[in-house]
Amino acid sequence: MSKVIRILIAKPGLDGHDRGAKVVSRALRDEGFEVIYTGLRKTPEEIVRAAIEEDVSAIGLSILSGAHNHIFPRVIELLKQENAEDIIVFGGGIIPDEDIPALKEAGVKAIFTPGATTASIADFIREACGA
């Protein structure tokens, strides 16, 4: 039996636009993943705690408010503090191209900007999780 991959889809920050997060959650469910959805307004601390308690392989952060440069690195830092840097972090939302290199430098494995297909997100996760 192949192991079910568990993913955390999280909405950090204050923005309430969860259309993308919800569509991606549904699509990943239909691709066979177990998706834990956090709901809105989660702090990096809550997100990392959820990722650990749920034993997920990856965290997808959806953010449209522009707070990504603050929040993404903070999540990765907290994962390191918990010795959980093996959990993969990827992101999506309105994120300018210019910001992407710095986010990747900080440890974000992939950024999906508007127009990315849900299939490409599923493929990325499978590959990154070695499934």
Partner: protein, 389 residues
């Protein structure tokens, strides 16, 4: 990544949330590793003493919010609280969206709540195993009580909550003419019924209708504003004593070992007269008569197959047997069950909240160590435990 199981378990028991979480995954995923985790946990002497509280109810009843509020209430009293929330998996893809965390409040510095979501992965029997296993892992790591939330539809869900010590069925007013339409299965498994959203019109009626058909307690709550949560916690605590005894009787889960019915104690006015019946009519011979001064009683033993009858005659008008006869007339006064280790048995019963007359063993007739369990805890029967060397 490969995880060393011994190390994992050790770290989990030492308080690592990550290791605890990994242990749950091992149990959930099944296979050889899960077996290993169970073995290790068993070895570490984990006991099924943590309270398992199952919550179920129709979609939209506000179960998740209620679980959250209950967990907070327990955690505020200093308990470390585990939550296992089960959602259905897609029958097509096997995937699932597990959304029950959404209602969790931000974790606080002063309380410890461990929340784990599970997909039912389409397996009716397997789910209860995974769920029970996860609860065991949480318990071994010091979590008590453990709240188990399910979607409340389907057989597998009902299976899970059956394993809980207390089952709360969450209802809301206004889901239609519910009482009739609720599946009998759900009504049967409920130890407590919580009518959530009690501020809504129709809540009183729903509670009233439930009370009319059920003997279980019905509590009005509002998970949204916290109303009634305290009462629900109190009701659960009261219930958990009786409900759990019932469920904990599965032998495999007990440390104490009962061997057989040792004897049946019968209060009589006169041993001599009674022997006329037992010896004369039934041919059961008495094996000597002994006086137990402490109990103000004279005792005759009549072996009968593997067990014995014990005839009790009071030596004083104020002795317990005399008082018994005065109240009930002659007849069966107690039943004695033989155990292999009476001290351990008493300790275990005490831990589980069983009311004891004797918390430590004392001398009984025939050289046995005996102790009495209060009839309040034993369905009106005066129960004696005894150990014979």
């Amino acid at each position: 990544m490969n995880w060393d199981i011994d190390k994992l378990v050790e770290d989990a028991l030492a308080g690592s949330r990550r290791s605890l979480s990994k242990c749950i995954s091992l149990v959930e995923n099944g296979g050889a590793d899960a077996h290993a985790v169970r073995l290790v946990l068993d070895k570490l002497g984990q006991r099924k003493t943590a309270k398992r509280i199952g919550l179920t109810g129709p979609p939209g009843s506000g179960k998740s919010t209620l679980v959250n509020k209950l967990a907070e209430a327990f955690a505020k009293d200093g308990n470390r609280v585990g939550i296992i929330a089960v959602d259905p998996s897609s029958p097509y893809s096997g995937g699932a969206i597990l959304g029950d965390r959404v209602r969790m409040d931000a974790p606080s510095e002063t309380t410890d709540i461990f929340f784990r979501s599970m997909g039912n992965r389409g397996a009716a029997g397997g789910l209860s195993d995974a769920c029970a296993g996860a609860a065991d892992v949480l318990e071994a790591c010091g979590y008590n009580p453990i709240l188990i939330e399910t979607v409340g539809v389907g057989q597998s869900e009902i299976e899970i909550v059956r394993h809980a010590d207390v089952v709360i069925v969450v209802m809301v007013p206004g889901l239609g003419d519910e009482i009739q339409s609720i599946k009998a299965g759900i009504l049967e498994i409920g130890d407590v019924f919580a009518v959530n959203k009690c501020d809504l019109p129709g809540a009183d009626r729903t509670a009233h209708e439930l009370r009319a058909v059920l003997s279980a307690p019905v509590v009005m709550v509002s998970a949204m504003n916290g109303e009634g949560i305290e009462e629900l916690v109190k009701t659960i605590s009261l219930l958990s004593q009786t409900a759990r005894q019932k469920k904990l009787l599965k032998e495999s889960e007990l440390k104490m070992k009962t061997l057989k019915i040792d004897h049946v104690g019968i209060a009589v006015n006169s041993i001599e007269e009674s022997l006329g019946f037992y010896e004369g009519m039934l041919g059961i011979k008495a094996e000597g008569v002994e006086e137990v001064a402490e109990q103000k009683v004279k005792v005759a033993f009549l072996p009968c197959g593997d067990s014995e009858l014990e005839l009790l005659e009071s030596t004083s008008p104020d002795g317990p047997v005399a008082r018994f006869i005065e109240k009930n007339g002659e007849g069966v006064q107690h039943i004695a069950i033989r155990v292999d280790d009476i001290e351990a048995a008493l300790e275990e019963l005490k831990e589980k909240g069983v009311r004891l007359i004797d918390e430590t063993p004392r001398y009984g007739a025939g050289g046995a160590s005996i102790a009495f369990v209060h009839p309040k805890s034993a369905g009106g029967v005066l129960l004696e435990l005894c150990e014979r060397k």
